[in-house]
Symmetry: C2
Subunit: 206 residues, 2 copies
């Protein structure tokens, strides 16, 4: 199997959303050109991306919205739900937790952790907040695959070490630090400051 670039995966994920919108709008079929237009790319790019995984379209017609939806879901591994833990019950954690769109897209938050003893034990939508020390046992018991890390920068590496030790295989990190994870564990970072600085650069150079 050849290597799939990160940007190709991002775009697939984007196509998935566009397809869901098209589906909701009642479209039966969609062309690479329409997808490109709505996704801000080119039709050749769309076709190339899809061709990495097979040929799903019909010449002259385009793609069946239903079929492409299910193909992309399967490519991205979204057929079944992922079991997710959220670490950090601060404001960001709370915002993420209440963002119920995750649920709809197959990410099921099954545990919440925080280091603050005053928060531990309180209920969040039917889920009791656990102490960081319980990460190992709870993650194992709940068979968590993915963790969302929303703790301060100086606590993040320790939390991640615990998560990895407990068997988590994917981490989405919101703390502004470069985390170390062993190979075999997937890591993605969301760094708002970095994006703002990107805007600053763009505004600065013109």
């Amino acid at each position: 199997m050849k290597k799939i670039s990160e940007s190709a995966v991002r775009r697939l994920s984007l196509y998935l959303r566009l397809l869901q919108e098209a589906d909701a709008a009642g479209a039966e079929t969609i062309s690479s050109g329409e997808l490109a237009e709505r996704g801000g790319t080119t039709s050749a790019q769309v076709r190339k991306d899809l061709s990495l995984f097979g040929s799903f379209g019909k010449r002259g017609l385009g793609y069946s919205v239903q079929e492409l939806l299910s193909r992309i879901r399967s490519i991205l591994g979204l057929q079944s739900r992922w079991r997710v833990a959220l670490v950090g019950a601060g404001k960001l954690g709370s915002a993420l937790f209440s963002y119920r769109d995750f649920e709809a897209r197959g990410f099921n938050i099954r545990a919440v952790f925080d280091s603050d003893p005053r928060k531990v034990g309180t209920q969040w939508g039917g889920l009791g907040i656990r102490a960081d020390e319980e990460i190992d046992s709870v993650v194992r018991a709940e068979e968590i695959d993915i963790a969302i890390v929303a703790v301060p920068a100086d606590a993040a590496q320790q939390v991640v070490d615990r998560l990895v030790k407990a068997g988590v295989r994917g981490i989405l990190n919101f703390a502004p630090v470069r985390l170390k994870v062993p190979r075999g564990v997937a890591l993605k970072n969301v760094d708002v400051t970095l994006e703002l600085e990107g805007l600053s650069f763009a505004l600065n150079t013109r």
Copy 2:
């Protein structure tokens, strides 16, 4: 002036953070190799990135931490503060607002908007929440450069249209939609679902 790739800018931003850490740790000087190691890249990459803007190092010695800090700040346009508006005073907006790290990095939130009449008028850390209808006048009066959009997907385009009309030149969008902005307006997206799906793909293919 030649074109600078998005990834190069991201890395500069990363180097900036690493330099701040090195500075806090008391380092006077730093080599491309050290930066690379801490930033998860290669020394050639670091040197190439920096060489796009000039030659800031001393052979045999490396880079002066202080000088490189100020050079990168100036490249990224962070010498002066940016005037920022936050649109959307929900949970995410609240999390972003209270993340005072922005302030430290030169992004000064000067206005908060929300469409909910019950929120309008309440105070957030000394700032009164304004109605979306006021975007035009307030953004002009406050000379806002950058807006952070943290509203539901179906409201985002309308908000952005207003912001753009009022003269905002950079937008950081958290809503899961592909926004349309005129050329000349810089747009960055933070899409958590997309990142989670990227993790799903990574976990799925092995």
